[in-house]
Symmetry: C2
Subunit: 251 residues, 2 copies
Amino acid sequence: MCELLAMSANVPTDIRFSFKGLAVRGGEVGPHRDGFGIVFYHGKGLQEFRDVDASCDSPVARLVEDLPIRSKAVIAHVRQANAGAVNLENTHPFHRELFGRHFTFAHNGQLPGVKKLPLGRFKPVGTTDSEHAFCYLLDQLDLSRLPSVASVGRIFSRVAEKLSKLGVCNLVLTDGRAIYCWRTTKLVWITRRAPFGAARLQDADMTVDFAQLTTPNDVVTVVATDPLTDNEEWSEVPERQVKILVDGEWK
Amino acid sequence: MCELLAMSANVPTDIRFSFKGLAVRGGEVGPHRDGFGIVFYHGKGLQEFRDVDASCDSPVARLVEDLPIRSKAVIAHVRQANAGAVNLENTHPFHRELFGRHFTFAHNGQLPGVKKLPLGRFKPVGTTDSEHAFCYLLDQLDLSRLPSVASVGRIFSRVAEKLSKLGVCNLVLTDGRAIYCWRTTKLVWITRRAPFGAARLQDADMTVDFAQLTTPNDVVTVVATDPLTDNEEWSEVPERQVKILVDGEWK
């Protein structure tokens, strides 16, 4: 299995605290030693970092923890391989361009039989179930022009429902405009807004006082496989319902 | 204008020395302050690093200079913006998946009028001439299945000839199997093989004795806009002829 992390915010926001909480699960307190990846959106552009090393050991992960990269939409993943070898082409998040937009996708779970779903123009580079599912999803989104956020949500929901019949299917998807979430087993979220308080990581000795780092209008929602902090209230993403984040708020 | 760097090798090879020679031209001794990018192939998978900061200042570039990443196919680029704003979506190299392979492309030059070329399924995310040219090229490669290296070379040659009528067109392309090169003005290369010697960067106080870092069978070819070292003999890529590198050797 794997762990997912996504962030949506109304201002470019530093995700290092949450990424640290995820990265220690990549081989230190968690078993997810088989690589990691993180994709930051800056407008329509992407900045990505990935490695086949465990995120707890990777110098690339250390750089991500050190750099104050600010973004309004982020997706990250630490991997424990089950389907597909440990190599870069099997490392999430996956992304593809469609209608001049980068779509980025990460999956937690297993989808036995997914490779029977026929593919069109998008083909997997690696051998994971997850990338096959992503290519299938993109084919459904490949209409005559870029679908609206609501249309992407509807199509994503239809595909996620189909995938969920195959197995564990916790998903995060973004096109830079919105973050689309789907849960069958594990996916939680928290929204931070004024008045901001302190948050303490569950798996690392790190506390941040968000009141010192934010302005009163900031709204930031973090989505993760399991709660990353132990002094805040995280909620479950509703089961088998597409949930859409835009600028840190659920739509 | 911009500067290009590409490497093809028969064994996974560390490109830090050449990248250092390129990175100092990104704002320190050269004017190319508008971002940089580097893509490493590991099998079919990619590891990429990019930044909108000048490569001489970027902490991401420092990481690339520090990390001993070994690869058989690398493309890198430092940018001085002329067409298109300074942002991540306009930062080379560009890449797209086609037939389950990542294709990666970087361009030095300007191609006025290129946006009149009609596009199919591949659409630019940013606003550069270069990305439009790449999308046009990919459409020509989008046949019924993955073209052979020789076929990619023929199609690349035909498209590059067409683009070269528009303006300065120095190109490097890779699909991980081969590096395809095209020059109208500036593109030079060097092949290093046994007996290896010492090389000294032209623009930075750095010398490497490749005899200490290689085995007798290693073959490494580096392609760049201008010679990176001042004690070795670099050759020009022939003008307006596609030249293809596989495992460090010209085919």
